[in-house]
């Protein structure tokens, strides 16, 4: 499994095209993140529209990316969240943590 990435201007985008609920998916996110991060991009946007489920493992991976960027004065953003993924972020009170890239 791999997630497509792209860099447009000063923002890097990671398109999550499957559920973030397994180690395989978590490692795919980490690999995509490292790919964008290694290009020097410090504003990274997660597009979670292709995911229907995110579990605690996936949330942990997202927060690990958030912490890494924060330590470098960077920012992890999200495209507007939808559906069950949005419900999960709200339940865990993380929906206001990540700025939204509209």
């Amino acid at each position: 499994m791999e997630f497509p990435t792209e860099v447009i201007g000063d923002k890097g985008y990671i398109h999550i095209t499957g559920d973030l609920d397994s180690e395989v998916a978590g490692e795919a996110l980490r690999s995509a993140f490292n790919q964008v991060y290694s290009q020097g991009t410090r504003t990274i946007v997660l597009d979670l529209s292709g995911a229907q489920i995110i579990n605690s493992y996936g949330i942990g991976k997202v927060l690990s990316c958030y912490q890494q960027l924060q330590a470098q004065r960077g920012v992890l953003m999200v495209k507007p969240l939808e559906g069950f993924v949005k419900e999960t972020f709200e339940l865990l009170m993380l929906d206001k943590l990540l700025p939204v890239d509209k």
């Binding site: 095209t17 397994s22 605690s56």
Partner: protein, 304 residues
């Protein structure tokens, strides 16, 4: 176009291919909708009413990420075929590798499309038969067992019982997602904290390039004492309630209070139990914490 008539959605700006595919559909009694506008394609494909979707990945304006997203969400019976160049562009190859999608090279071989149509017809018939059969099931019980080694290599586990309840429209897609989430959390607990005896707090202890949790996890998956321990998942449906029991062979744990969820908490662990208890109607721990039962009542039987 009636719902009984199989139908195809073609996203292609090449008029010759459009005409050839239209003629083939007419000859085979299929409904055919051709679009050359990417936004119209996106609306139609998301509606998910087509049995077969053929999309030229190079069509102007067609965002391949839309195709990737659709490939992840489509019904199992719906076929998605991507038209690419002979060698396969990086984009189209990536789609095929990651999403169980067929790739057809230009020029499009109509015999090949015809075989895809036959396959889609068979899938649709099978789905209809299964829907009907499963709507009559009064009770069902299945048991699956996995070793830690297998779980370490597996992607998410889907329970057949849940898939069948969705197919027979007795369980909504949203409730199925909630069950799947709860099961994933229970499996993770059974596998990592039960059988591998890992401590979540190790996730935040860095050890060079990795963390202590990942390092010990890897060690224990290579140690037969831990790797051969089993996790069993027993699913039971009695017509009104789905019960799923996840059991491990670890030392057990004490399910104390749920961790309090705090706003903007950056910890990378400790949310599994919260997600599990919110996803189903009831969570019960037993056998010294080596067994967890997840209970989900079907919407029609849930008391209000």
């Amino acid at each position: 176009m009636t719902s009984a008539q199989p139908s195809i959605l073609v996203a292609d700006s090449d008029e010759r291919r459009q005409g050839a595919l239209r003629a083939l559909c007419q000859a085979k009694g299929w409904g055919c909708q051709v679009v050359s506008d990417a936004s119209e394609f996106q609306q139609l494909v998301e509606a998910g009413t087509f049995d077969l979707v053929i999309a030229d990945v190079e069509m102007p304006g067609l965002d391949y990420k839309v195709l990737l997203g659709h490939a992840c969400r489509r019904k199992p019976s719906q076929l998605l075929v991507v038209v690419g160049d002979a060698k396969g562009s990086e984009t189209s190859l990536r789609m095929v590798r990651s999403n169980d999608t067929d790739l057809i090279a230009r020029p499009v071989d109509l015999d090949w499309v015809e075989r895809c149509m036959e396959q889609a017809t068979l899938s649709k018939r099978q789905e209809t038969r299964e829907q009907l059969a499963h709507s009559f099931v009064v009770s069902e019980r299945t048991e699956m067992r996995f070793s830690c080694k297998q779980l370490g290599e597996a992607q998410a586990i889907t329970l057949p019982i849940v898939a069948r309840l969705v197919a027979s429209r007795r369980l909504s897609d949203n409730d199925a997602r909630k069950i799947r989430l709860a099961v994933q959390e229970a499996l993770l607990n059974a596998f990592e904290h039960g059988n591998l005896e890992l401590d979540s707090r190790w996730k935040e202890e860095r050890l060079g390039e990795t963390d202590r949790f990942s390092a010990v996890r890897k060690e224990r998956l290579a140690d037969p004492k831990f790797a051969n321990r089993m996790v069993s998942v027993t699913s039971w449906f009695d017509g009104e309630v789905v019960e799923i029991v996840v059991k491990d062979q670890g030392g057990g744990f004490s399910p104390t209070r749920l961790r309090e969820i705090k706003k903007n908490d950056l910890s990378c662990f400790g949310r599994g139990l919260t997600l599990m208890t919110n996803a189903v109607d009831e969570v019960r721990f037993s056998s010294g914490g080596t067994e967890v039962t997840l209970v989900k009542r079907l919407a029609a039987t849930r008391s209000t």
